[in-house]
């Protein structure tokens, strides 16, 4: 399914396996399983994966023509509806693939990290579906601000383990899950949530999500007879991005835009070690984090910065090594959208198309809203997830900003509280 060398842990200069020695045998075992089951369909693994994605996940997801947006922007906009996948986001593609792979490998237990809770939720669903015990590591700050997802994970039968070190967000949760894996590698598989980490994770996670672009490519050819001019996807760690781009990379005429979170500003505060954005591809530089060489938000010493975005799912100081490589090669264009524009686009899509997007996804639409004149005549936008999880944040952030496009929420104040 992929054309690159499965054995090569690198994407140009990026990627690799920068992990503690105790984990090396586990990732070597995983690299071997990836090659056999995923790339060579041993024991019919990929057949079972595809069949479960259809029956349990609801694939294929539609490629929908967006009537109102196409008219507004005067270009054809097509929506790849990953928000309609079971769980409400693209995340299930990877979670189901890895939990199933763990079963084929004879592992008895699943661990995973989660930031916003979307990957944790998808992993908890996949683990319940495939009858595997599952523990999800989550920073305590994120537990507090993503309560609905904590409930969903617990309701699906997973344990949620709070991570208390540091700021208690995704970065700390990944580090903690790696530590836990180092202790339990012999019977446990770590389901990483994005195209990050040591080889083979970036390639394997990409391959599980590549079904997005595989379907989208077929669907647009069927609907229009032509390839799109542009594909637009938001990018945090980059899993939906790589999924939406993978099968278009060889189509040199299709422009690929990775939209990062510009947060509140693109500058960094060295003193405080904080970057008020997550625009790793646009502003980061090369370094080593969580097992891979990639682009990072870091200070001049190489200490990792605390990133920020209104969207918890984009809030990460690193990015997938393959995306970093594709940006350096000039194949993918990194762009960014700040919190304000993302919120505006959130309301636009909700009002014009009747689709409430995840705040992550709203960044992709923010880019189209502002730069549609620079795009070609047929644009595929990946709707990576739905926005139910973000409503509280959106109402709070919208009220702060006094956006013209936002609906009048004063009815909620009259009723007292947020009303949610």
């Amino acid at each position: 399914m992929s054309t690159d060398d499965a054995h090569d842990p690198k994407f140009g200069e990026y990627g690799g396996q920068y992990v503690p020695e105790a984990l090396m045998p586990a990732i070597e075992e995983l690299a071997d399983a990836y090659e056999r089951y995923v790339l060579h369909n041993e024991d019919g693994f990929m057949d079972e994966f595809r069949s479960r994605l259809a029956d349990f996940g609801g694939r294929p997801t539609p490629l929908q023509y967006a009537d109102q947006l196409s008219e507004r922007y005067d270009t054809d906009i097509y929506l790849k509806r990953e928000d309609l996948l079971h769980g409400g986001a693209h995340k299930l593609n990877n979670a189901l693939g890895q939990v199933l792979l763990a079963k084929y490998m004879g592992k008895e237990r699943i661990i995973a990290e989660t930031g916003a809770g979307q990957h944790g939720t998808a992993t908890a669903m996949a683990a319940a579906h495939l009858d595997m015990p599952c523990e999800i590591y989550m920073g305590e700050t994120d537990i507090a601000r993503q309560r609905p997802n904590v409930f969903r994970m617990k309701i699906n039968g997973s344990e949620v383990v709070p991570v208390t070190v540091g700021r208690g967000t995704l970065k700390e949760a990944i580090s903690e899950t790696m530590r836990e894996w180092a202790t339990t590698v012999e019977n446990t598989h770590y389901v990483i949530g994005s195209v990050v980490g040591p080889h083979p994770f970036p390639k394997m996670v990409r391959d599980f999500h590549a079904v997005i672009s595989e379907e989208a490519r077929e669907q647009i050819l069927e609907q229009t007879g032509e390839l799109p001019s542009d594909v637009v996807a938001c990018a945090g760690g980059g899993s939906n991005t790589m999924g939406a781009f993978a099968e278009f990379i060889a189509d040199a005429d299709v422009a690929l835009h990775a939209v990062e979170a510009g947060g509140s500003a693109l500058t960094v505060d060295e003193e405080e070690g904080v970057a008020p954005n997550s625009a790793t591809l646009s502003t980061g530089d090369e370094g080593v984090l969580h097992g891979a060489r990639t682009k990072l938000l870091q200070d001049s010493d190489g200490q990792i910065m605390e990133s920020h975005s209104v969207s918890a799912g984009l809030d990460y100081a690193g990015v997938g090594p393959e995306l970093a490589h594709l940006v350096d090669e000039g194949r993918v264009t990194p762009v960014n959208v700040d919190d304000d524009l993302a919120l505006e686009a959130f309301h636009r899509l909700s009002q014009d198309e009747g689709i409430i997007p995840a705040l992550e996804t709203a960044h992709a639409f923010g880019y189209v809203e502002k730069y549609h004149d620079d795009l070609g005549d047929s644009v595929v936008v990946n709707v990576s997830g739905r926005g139910d999880k973000d409503l509280e944040t959106v109402i709070e952030e919208t009220t702060k900003r006094d956006l013209d496009i936002a609906p009048d929420m004063s009815i909620l104040q009259q009723m007292g509280g947020s009303g949610l």
């Binding site: 690799g16 396996q17 920068y18 992990v19 503690p20 020695e21 105790a22 090396m24 045998p25 586990a26 070597e28 070190v165 540091g166 970065k171 580090s175 790696m178 530590r179 180092a182 202790t183 339990t184 590698v185 012999e186 070690g273 370094g287 080593v288 984090l289 969580h290 097992g291 990072l296 870091q298 001049s300 010493d301 190489g302 200490q303 990792i304």
Partner: protein, 276 residues
């Protein structure tokens, strides 16, 4: 080569502390207390914001050190200022080594380390496969590069490490991350057997916290013991209780002495190998 010398004649006691924990001045006193207590070499942690190989104890030490203002430059100042007569090993993560200086790669970091008197490195997130450039820089400046052997390390990987390792080999006593434990794992003995014919000294770490542990590890054939979390615990408890610096330093020195004595007893219990 500096580090190997620490293991000649008798089993070595190699303590670890994070530089700057809980602050620059106190940390200097603590590291010096370890030397006073009989350390043969010291692993001095350069704090990194994402220490994926460390357990809670050392993670918290790293947080305290970073919060009190430890940076890479201050670390080098710290090493220059340190008044000890034993070899120093810089233990840190690869990104800090890689980012340092104006040229790409680890050379600038190694050059500066050599200048301030560091004798070698342990880099937990740098496997042998990625270690070429650092090994080259170490050779250029005459520094050692220590590798960690885990209970799960495969024979093929052992061979790769053997090519790159110098100074000593760090034998990880059990799976998992750093942290003091009450038991000493059987995996230790097995790991020591697997690398018995390597010509670098074998130091065992992970979980050692008493003189008795040290004794058992050395009698099982180790050339030295590495102790981190049990010492960091003393710093952490003293810091939380607001104890005076010299009291904490005295406790560190006492545990250091206990561990060194334990290692020496262990050496007497085993059949003495022929030394040439």
């Amino acid at each position: 080569m500096g580090l190997e010398a620490a293991f000649t004649d008798e089993p070595a006691f190699v303590p670890y502390l994070a530089a700057g924990d809980p602050n620059y001045e106190d940390s200097l006193a603590y590291v010096e207390a370890l030397a006073e207590g009989g350390a043969d070499a010291i692993e001095l942690g350069l704090p990194f914001s994402e220490p994926i190989a460390e357990g809670t104890t050392i993670q918290n030490a790293i947080v305290r050190a970073l919060e009190s203002g430890m940076t890479v430059e201050r670390y080098f100042d710290f090493v220059s200022e340190l008044d000890v007569n034993v070899p120093l090993v810089c233990m840190t993560y690869y990104n800090l080594i890689y980012q340092y200086g104006s040229s790409e790669g680890p050379r600038d970091f190694v050059a500066r380390s050599a200048e301030v008197g560091i004798d070698g490195f342990v880099v937990p997130d740098l496997p042998a496969e990625e270690a070429g450039p650092l090994r080259e820089a170490c050779d250029e400046f005459g520094l050692d590069l220590v590798f960690i052997v885990a209970p799960t390390t495969t024979p093929e990987r052992l061979e790769r490490m053997r090519e790159h390792v110098s100074g000593y080999v760090y034998v990880q006593a059990r799976l998992g991350v750093t942290g003091a434990r009450d038991d000493v794992d059987d995996a230790t003995e097995e790991s020591l057997t697997r690398i018995a014919d390597w010509d670098v000294p074998k130091a065992v770490g992970f979980g050692i916290k008493t003189g008795e542990h040290a004794e058992r590890i050395v009698s099982a054939g180790a050339d030295g013991v590495i102790v981190g979390s049990a010492l960091v615990d003393i710093v952490a408890e003293g810091y939380e209780d607001g104890d005076p610096t010299d009291e904490i330093a005295a406790r560190l020195e006492a545990l250091a002495r206990e561990l060194k004595q334990g290692a020496l007893r262990g050496a007497q219990e085993r059949p003495q190998p022929e030394r040439t």
